[in-house]
């Protein structure tokens, strides 16, 4: 689905393509999640990395993008590096390299470690926010700074989703992009790519319960939710309207 002239939301996936940068943008991969959970006692089957690689392979083939921008939280654990995470990170970086693409990382709250791997992995890492082309990428746990003359702010962190009812009256959660404005600058929130992140159903949440300080500052009821599921991407209208279904 086309968001605007420059940005395409890849149908059915939490991935955007920016034509002017020839880049795919994703957020909140939380690699190594299952391994970390396993150590805490929950043995989730390992599917996250496989699904991410599948998705990105399709997106790369469709768009011929040459860059993948990860808008924060590429891995799961705070500060420490876990061996499981390292292995998955290694596999992920190798995958991107094999596809002949560049990897750009915006540091998220879970990524304090990655600079250690900057050299061996030859990563492009931005500390807090990164201005690439006309866009400002930041993870979302802090306010963006350099927002003047920005075409769009792009963040992750919140794991946005919406709750809707299907025909049988069953409530379902769908991951969703959020589109709105922050201090008059256009704002796009990318849903989490992690398989196990069900996401937060924004139309069931009070503002104060939101994770990102940025979203607590904006009127999320006026943000548009573009949901993904069952292979397609569809505009569901504003969060404010969606609240009424709840």
């Amino acid at each position: 689905m086309k968001l605007n002239e420059d940005i395409d939301l890849i149908d059915g996936f939490p991935v955007i393509y920016i034509k002017s940068l020839n880049a795919l943008v994703v957020a909140d991969l939380h690699l190594g999640y299952e391994g970390v959970m396993a150590k805490k006692g929950t043995l989730l089957p390992k599917v996250n990395l496989r699904k991410i690689i599948d998705t990105l392979s399709i997106a790369l083939t469709r768009t011929k993008a040459k860059t993948i921008i990860v808008d924060g939280d590429i891995k799961n654990e705070f500060s420490r590096v876990d061996e499981e995470e390292f292995n998955e990170l290694y596999d992920f970086v190798s995958f991107v390299r094999d596809k002949g693409a560049d990897l750009v990382l915006i540091k998220g709250n879970h990524d304090n470690f990655v600079e250690k791997y900057k050299e061996p992995f030859k990563l492009r890492i931005y500390r807090q926010e990164a201005r690439i082309g006309d866009y400002l990428f930041f993870h979302g746990e802090e306010f963006p700074e350099d927002i003047k003359r920005v075409k769009m702010l792009i963040m992750g962190h919140e794991h946005p989703a919406i709750g809707v009812y299907n025909g049988a009256g069953k409530k379902e959660k769908l991951a969703a992009f959020l589109v709105g404005t922050y201090k008059r600058a256009p704002l796009l929130v990318i849903p989490a790519m992690n398989y196990y992140a069900a996401g937060t159903d924004m139309n069931f949440q009070m503002k104060s319960a939101l994770l990102s300080p940025v979203l607590r500052k904006v009127d999320i009821d006026r943000m548009r939710a573009i949901a993904i599921g069952y292979g397609s991407t569809i505009d569901f209208g504003t969060i404010g309207k969606l609240r009424k279904v709840s």
Binding site: H30, Y33, E34, G35, V36, M37, A38, K39, K40, G41, T42, L43, L44, P45, K46, V47, N76, E77, F78, E84, N87, N109, H110, H159, G163, A168, G169, K170, K171, N194, Y195, Y196, A197, A198, G199, T200, F204, M206, L211, S246
Partner: protein, 890 residues
Amino acid sequence: MIEYVKEPFSDDESLAVLNPYVRAWFTKNFTELTPPQKFAFKLISERKNLLITAPTGSGKTMSGFTTIISKLFDYSLEGKLEDKVYCLYISPLKSLNNDIHRNLTRPLDEVFDQIIKAKGAKIMKENIRKVTIGVRTGDTLQSERVKMLKTPPNILVTTPESLAILLNSSKFVENLKSIEYVIVDEVHELANNKRGVHLSLSIERLADITVNKFARIGMGATLYPLDEAAKFIAGYNEGKPNDCIIVDASWSKKLDVKTISPVSDMIYTDDRKVEEATYALLDSIIKKGKTTLIFTNTRSGTERVIFNLKKIFGYGDDIAAHHGSLSRESRLEVEDLLKKGSLKCAVSSTSLELGVDIGSIDTVVQLGSPKSVTRAVQRIGRAGHSFKAVAKGDVVVLNRDDLVECTIMLDAALKRHLDSFTVPRGPLDVLAQHIVGMSLTKKWSIDEAYNLVKRVYSYSELPKSDFMALINYLAGNYVGLESRRVYGKIWYDEKEQAFTKRGYNTRLIYMLNLGTIPDQVACEVIVASTKKSVGSIEEEFLMKLKDDDIFTLGGKLYKFEYSRGMKCYVSTADATSPTIPPWYSEQLPLSYELANEIGAFRLEFSKVLEAYISKNKVKRFDKGEPIPKEALEILDKLPADQNSKEALYGYFMEQLLFTKYVPNKELLLVEFTGDISDYKFYVIFHSLYGRRTNDALSRAIGIEMGERLDLDIGVMVNDNGFMFVFDEKPEIDEKMIHDIISSLSRGSLVPLMKRNVRKTEMMKRRFRHAAARSFMILRNYKGFKIGVGRQQVNSQILLKAVEDMDPNFPILKETYREILNDVMDLPRAEEVLSKIRKGEIKTKFIETSLPSPFAHNLITFGHSDVIMMKDRHEYLRELHKLVMKKIAVK
């Protein structure tokens, strides 16, 4: 071979197996042997496997222990008694363990005192020692455990969970190798659930390490079929059950029972009058005897009865409540007062049904149906001063379905027809746990371990492929090689076909997480839109909720929206009736066997009435009419009072005159009807096969019907049938009903049910429990927080991930098995459907302008809890009046 011993041994013969000191002690303290003792002394002395059932208070404990104590004193007198465990006693109740310890300490002390008197100083020289006893449960202090390790007691009293731990304590296990007797008490509390299966795996693991083969003794209250319980206790060998002797002394107490209807007209008597009559009846029973025990079916009912008795008749502290929600202290206090005989009356929900000694009770009163013959017998069996006394029980009924049910129940009890239990077949989650436990003790060849497992009755038919699926799961083979270090709980060598322990943490994980009882938690109920908390429900209840279910809480109606973690989100419902009764989880389900007995009675009685109606051209029925001779002949054989007989007769006559049909054992009546008050349409299946069967049947038929009509339909299930509710008049006829039933063939039923079950909350939660039991989710790590600490991996996503990976993943397979076979009764639903196909059960489709009398309770219970009891009665009365008018017009 499993055999029954019917003829008791003489007291002399029994006492002859004891050594002189124990015999002297026994004859000094008891004048004669109780029925179970007359069998047990001799048989245990022959070291036979034994299953003894007998009512509480019939000297069961001593029947099991006396011979063993004697045997141990024999060892002592021979100077051979060592610091080893010779006898292991396992009971599911911790409180019972302390009782046993107290009760055995005295005989052990007194017998030893006699030996000291007789032998004097020789005791030291001949190394004659006292037989010791010790309790080991989760409550046992660390210091005592250390002591026990050094000097183990000769008789060790423990719980299933503590036994599993002991089997994996590398040091203590040495003390268990000398065991010669294993007693499992309260078999009826274990044989029908996973906790029992867990225990039987522990017992076979124990049998694998003891030096000598031990004798197994199972003890319990009434249960049926005893053969199944015997297999559960004795275990299997090479595909056949081990030898076991069954002693059935459950009927040693005579029963004197009847149903009492407080009023003769259960429809038109004013509610206040019914209530007054009920309490006056209770009061007169209480006043007549020294101590009365009243059972209600719910905790709230218990509270209400106590409150009203105190209010109306001015009772004080001489009556008391006893139920699970009360603190341990107050329960113990009530038990103590009962033992001392200082209570006039105790009111209980289920907690006084079994176990602890409560002294002598004159009469047991049961309010409403206890839903199973076995339970009725167990409860009423608490009455009577000694094992020789007659147990007197009155069942007070409150509506006409209850009346039929209770009368037939008591009749079945007098005929000794009990309802059956089933041992869960091959639960994979419980087995997963034990495989981890086994791996910690040594290196096992696959075949050796598999053969051990098959010695447990529950796993006697376990396919090797299921066993291997578990080995592969536990070895972490569902993730890549490099992650098995984390995922693997056991180390599996494929080439060598062997497994053993893996990693250092596994032992700790095992010890902290073993057991089968899921943590039952109260779930908070929150209004989704306002986030206001409105109360809490049990997790079991939440599990039953499907989308759009409406239930009452604190007198208000709520619609179930979704659940997250342990929270239940609802919206306020503007509907007029709940789709699911609030006491669903609290209410006991009607058993299959009892339902069949009722069906048989309905057949017999309605045939007689039909003949009477056609012979005398009866057109209408008037209240107070004398019961005709041929009907009275049948009713007089039943344990019921005059009011009850009249009500029974009226109930059947009305149904016959209104519809010509009384649903029965051979007739499944399907009634298509409407509601007088709110334009609803009902398709009612008068299906009388027990509620667990009805649960399965209603789902299967409901999906088929919904798909054919392309409509959303509400389903309600109770003991006497199930019903589909429509807002608009559906196009339904006899042919469609037949088509639906014949389409539900054996092959299609299971996938159909799985599809339905997959959508329920129950599936998610049972899956979580199964995942916890098989160590996929560890319970001592509360919650599954994603780093940021807010979003949870809900069981829904985990379930999906597992399904994606392997639809036959053992934990998934077990979840379906548990729901379809343990929670519902799919096998019996299949049986019913096949009987219909074969014509053994006929179906009859009728359209009625008003719900027929037999449908009234099913319909009104939907209305019951919105408009509360009073209005319910009002509504019922209105329905009844209309029906009677119709009959009169004809």
